[in-house]
Symmetry: D2
């Protein structure tokens, strides 16, 4: 693989935007995205949709209402003639974290709110849907163009919450001794296949989003970074490898762990990934497909940064930086035109598996496998602003920027990520100890100064 | 009022039990009690029935399932031919606190269980209902007589949970900024009427249950106790009096409070009873009838023991002991034949008010008002075993005895107590700082050695 | 033993006070008490005197300063001509819990204050000592008489803190792996001797302090109480019996425990009394005499109310009420003239053992052994006000009354209690789970209605 | 300033080590370092030396013992003939965090250990001092050379603890309402002088230690990094500027803060730097020189990363990265031969001020002021391993590497840092919310892609 900074790629130059929105396409995309949320919630009872199983989790019906509130607040309240809120108190109930918009219902208490119920949230959604479509249909071209960025942000925001909805309901259902199934069925037991390595030359590369196509503000600005030559595993680490890690005392050997991670291991009694439990010597895994014996051939999932890091140390390897990851993916031909929200290939939520699958061959012409989908991949990079980053003005400036501390970057998307929401420059982030995202491990090596 | 120890009352001697159960009456009572639970849950949505708003609270559907589990575990599992549980895991899910019966789902996590849903709990109830009726109808007389005590205990157990269900859903709904209404409507604003005092002679009195009629084990054995002459307020303390307490710095003057109570006032920021909130200088109260301005003529409700005690100190009075309360009520002719579960008069849950009402005249021939119903009345007595108390053998021995520490006794029943579940010897109990029971204050005076 | 209410005892009638204070005797007693505190602190280094090993514990030098502050605040500030505090900030630093006197240094932070050091606290003591003696010597008789109660309260207050000082330093030293010795040496290994029972008739008895001689306000008023016939063990429970309790699964059988106690056992991992630790199958006990193998013949010490209650249940017995205890001791001739602070006999701190000893024969004419000294004896009585109790006006009213909730009464004194500070009516009190007082168990039986 | 990567500097090439240790120089340096620790502890009483005012703080006498334990464990136990520990239990008591060496006394409980006292710790120090000197004097040349790295590490370890000792005792004394003084006196009130900016060209630069001279492992390996052109403030931010930040609502405007920082502001009630307190409208600052009105001309100190970041945002600027800081300092001629532990110039602990001072002119030929000493400077860089970093084998590998998460890098040293312990490549690190280090702010700007 020859090192090529992505912005030298010919496809980058002189092209029109890959996506040119008009009222019609915006309206169709709006219905698509909104409908997908409802489809994800459909298998869930009113009771399922109500519960918050830990402070990080939000109830399904809260997600359904909050993404609706997002359109109501950032679009309708700005642009609708004679705007009046659907329900006064919803402003308060469904604001997630925007301090600029005033007080909010306390996040850890979202699961205490029984009304509006799942059905009434449906009414709220229908009302806002109708008003947004009306607005889009009646705006003149100039106004529409001005509002398109916030509408498009609304699409991606709702997609983020589609993934969160699945992550969260997975956690909710995990607390039930009846072991409920959300959807789908497990793959048959299989063994890990051979792990290969992809060499990357590095040098003075560019990372980050630029040009047409959607990205969040945190993916910009595109900037230069120096990378020594390195290599990446061509697939994710597997349950089989994780079982070997456990068997070799992985959770009992302090020398493999960061000090904070070791404190978690001892304090929380970690002895396996989240959702694993041992019965009569056999490890089982709670999944959205039900609870099944751990399948060695599947990617390991629901490990924290600390566990990923300890596993890498045990493996004699390390985690990649986010720049290494992005540069390798782009040069491997799997970033598309960088930053364009073209569809990427992988085991994403549209496939309906709702769980990682064994590694498939890389796309034609590429070498890295499982790049998009399956599991988010922990990197060794802190989630910090890119050089020159400035959040936008106003409430929307709180979307990403204020969370840039105490978190680590993950890359690649997972089996719960909506298609169209994964791209090479996408920066996901969670605290070091978080395990309820569908997070896994891709090993890296090299990268040291000669 | 002449002091008369209750067991000297003529009605006590030589009478048959006030209640003689047979298959028919047991069956009818069973349907009655079971049906009442479902009627109380009827206004509540599946979402309402799912939530646990604090560790002390249980979800409505949990209550509905747990009382069913009680009959299944203590009756069917003992006596049903070829017993098999409705669902294996329900044994684990719906055991409240019986260590003898093995591990249980953690109490503070009851609100995390979305399935069985409200409807499926209904299926569970219907199944157990049918099996219990079948059992009662087919048992021979001797077996029935042997099982009657546990069936009768099941009735009273379910009634206890009927009150808890209402207390708990009141707390759940209180966390909702939309201020939902459970049922009923408020009384019109009124002022407190004159508070009178009832003198009681005391002496060597008897308290506790004895003879026929149902009581819990903690009401026994009946025993002697010495009381100096004392007097009791003839009605409950009112919101009007509480507003005066607040206005006089009640929540700001340490000298009125026990040290532990003062720590609560400061630590929790108490400035009024639970469910009161101030808006633009007006106090509002969340009730099951909705949220309304505090009505001065109504009994104050949802105060802790600490608040009740501080209020009594501020009033220059004190709280009664439980013996003083019971003895006064019995000698006032409102205990019935002590220990018999005859109906007593008062604003209980069957009246459908679901909230305390202004004091009505005392029953004919009596002087104490609001004795049963309206609000539980804090006493100055620790919830300890009566002299000679021994809990029964087996799991059922955990029903009451093990909770006899760190709690204070309340007497009299409240507006959420089912009719038939209030009696003079009944000992309710809560920790000093608990406020989510419908608890109020009756003042006492005297009782000191001459 | 014939039941006799103590106030019928002939020695009670017509006697002058057992203690008539004048300037000379007050001055001598003052020096005695003050000197004893310094003697207790003498073996402790400046470092020892500084540390607070848990929020309940206070540093030695804090105790030394606080009792000095007590005389400065309640005596000198009231009566000294031209009073000026030794150091302004000491008012703030050494006020323990008197809200009436304004803000205080936070109790859990007492161990953070390094200055004044142990030596400077000595200077403070010397200064106040001189001023108090000067005051006592120069007051006219009327003024002296008026101040005598507060001076006498100061003596008893300082004695209370002498015991606390020892309790607290025992805890401090227990946290040191070097196992330091405070003083004294252990008794030789011995076995428990036979436990006998003392029958008490009961009836309408009187308890509480009355008449001349010192008592705290919480020992009054003397009042009547009804007791059914009962019996008390003639000695304390021993380590040998406790080892049998442990061996029989005492800390593993939920059915022996109150629910709150069981929560402590599980939550805190209790498996033996405080200060016991197991090494290679042998139990050791940290004492002020050093760390030694548990001696079966000694009274068990440092158990909580929960443990005492579970042990009693395991023994098929119960704990006595405080009225039973006091009445039995007085009728056994070991209360002296009730309420007079005459010396009682027992293994108290003046003996210098600083640890309980094996039971000795009862005093001539008595049958109960180990009544005073050795270990405080848990009762089954909540620490509540006696009927008719009212705390005094002013700051001194906070001395006892405000602590009358969530605590249980202990009786009898212990090996750390100063001679002259134990009496039949004395009410000590600690929360149910507290273990750092030198608390043990005397079993009771009977007392149930016939 | 022309960008020059430090390793191109001529002084770097072909030179011998700046420090060639022999037995004599090692011995002299050992005495120097060890003596300095004792000199710092000299003004502190035994009580001062005992207290741990929060879990992060260690008692003075613990520091004195722990650095001694370090030599005993890593040097004497390895190399001394017939080694026996001074005291068996000290191995347990004075191990800080080396899991490899077995269990340790719990860190948050270090303040509970009263013995060994301050004087006995002195005995321990004297014993180990003598044995180390004996060892150094008697080793043959080869052995000495082999041990020199660990001895030298011991010097730098002890210097780190010299700074910690001062940080910690400052916190201890801050909890005392008597406002004790450690040493020194404050500078006179002055105003901030003009803040200038130093431009740096950037490019492909090198950072990290290489070559002779001491560094910790975390300063290596030296590696390349790309920097866009940027500029740094030529002095630290001042109290005067911080007062303006406060006056402008700095602690009340959420939009200035990272989300985690805002949670701290609200949760901890931050309204000013640690050690500031307001009395009658005047801000005072607790310092080791006593408590004085905040001096506008002095560098602001004891701010967290969150505050530094919010202040930078408010200023329209940002914090520098650690690479920007190091590269600028080296190219400004203040790094010396990079990585050599030559003396750098600044207000360090040897000056005896024990507090930051107003900015002085830069050294001749340099433009950046206050580079070394005064205050540690927060950077925007997470404390992560440099590319290719591997901790050494064995217990000593725990020295730095395991702490590389959840912390931010600070650069430059402070007024509590020993002379000889500051250098351009030195990486200090603390959690985002830590404030008890002497940490301040140097603003940066630029650095964005063109
Ligand atoms: Fe959102
Ligand atoms: Fe129950
Ligand atoms: Fe005191
Ligand atoms: Fe260290």
């Amino acid at each position: 693989m020859t090192q090529t900074t992505a912005n030298e790629a010919p496809s980058e130059t002189g092209e029109a935007s890959s996506r040119e929105w008009d009222a019609d396409s915006l309206g169709r995309r709006f219905e698509e995205v909104r409908g997908h949320t409802e489809a994800l919630a459909a298998p869930l009872s009113p009771e399922d949709q109500t519960v918050q199983s830990m402070p990080d989790v939000s109830p399904t019906k809260w997600h359904r209402a909050h993404v609706t509130w997002f359109f109501e607040t950032f679009l309708l309240a700005e642009a609708e003639q004679g705007f009046a809120p659907f329900q006064d108190k919803y402003w308060f109930l469904f604001n997630s974290y925007y301090e600029t918009l005033g007080p909010r219902y306390a996040r850890p208490d979202r699961g205490l709110v029984t009304r509006p119920g799942a059905h009434e949230v449906g009414d709220y959604r229908a009302n806002v849907d109708a008003r947004v479509r009306e607005l889009v249909d009646t705006l003149d071209g100039g106004s529409l163009e001005k509002l398109t960025p916030i509408i498009e942000l609304g699409f991606h925001h709702e997609q983020q919450h589609q993934e969160l909805l699945l992550m969260d309901i997975k956690h909710v259902l995990s607390r039930n001794p009846l072991q409920p199934v959300y959807a789908g069925s497990p793959v048959e037991r299989c063994e890990p296949d051979r792990l290969g390595w992809v060499e990357v030359e590095g040098g003075l590369v560019e990372v980050g989003h630029e040009g047409p196509g959607f990205s969040f503000d945190n993916e910009m600005p595109r900037h230069r970074q120096w990378l020594e030559p390195y290599r990446l595993a061509d697939r994710l680490a597997t349950n089989g490898e994780w079982l070997a890690f456990i068997a070799d005392g992985g959770y009992e050997r302090h020398e493999l762990w960061l000090s904070d991670g070791w404190a978690k291991v001892r304090g929380e009694g970690w002895s396996a990934p989240l959702y694993w439990s041992e019965h009569d010597g056999v490890w089982f895994e709670h999944t959205l497909n039900g609870t099944w014996p751990v399948n060695p051939g599947l990617p390991v999932a629901h490990v924290s940064f600390y566990e990923a890091e300890a596993f890498a140390t045990w493996s004699g390897k390390r985690l990649p930086t986010e720049a290494e990851w992005e540069h390798a993916v782009v040069t491997d031909g799997q970033g598309g035109q960088h930053g364009r929200d073209q569809q990427v290939v992988g085991n994403l939520a549209d496939g309906g598996s709702f769980h990682p699958r064994p590694a498939q061959p890389a796309p034609a012409g590429s070498r890295l496998r499982q790049v998009h989908g399956d599991c988010w991949e922990w990197t060794s990079s802190a989630y910090h602003p890119y050089p020159g980053f400035h959040p936008p003005e106003g409430a929307i400036g709180e979307y990403n920027g204020k969370f840039m501390s105490n978190q680590m970057v993950l890359r690649g998307g997972c089996a719960l990520t909506p298609a169209g929401h994964a791209r090479a420059s996408y920066r996901n982030f969670f605290p070091h100890g978080a395990r309820w995202a569908l997070s896994g491990v891709r090993l890296a090596d090299g990268g040291a100064p000669a």
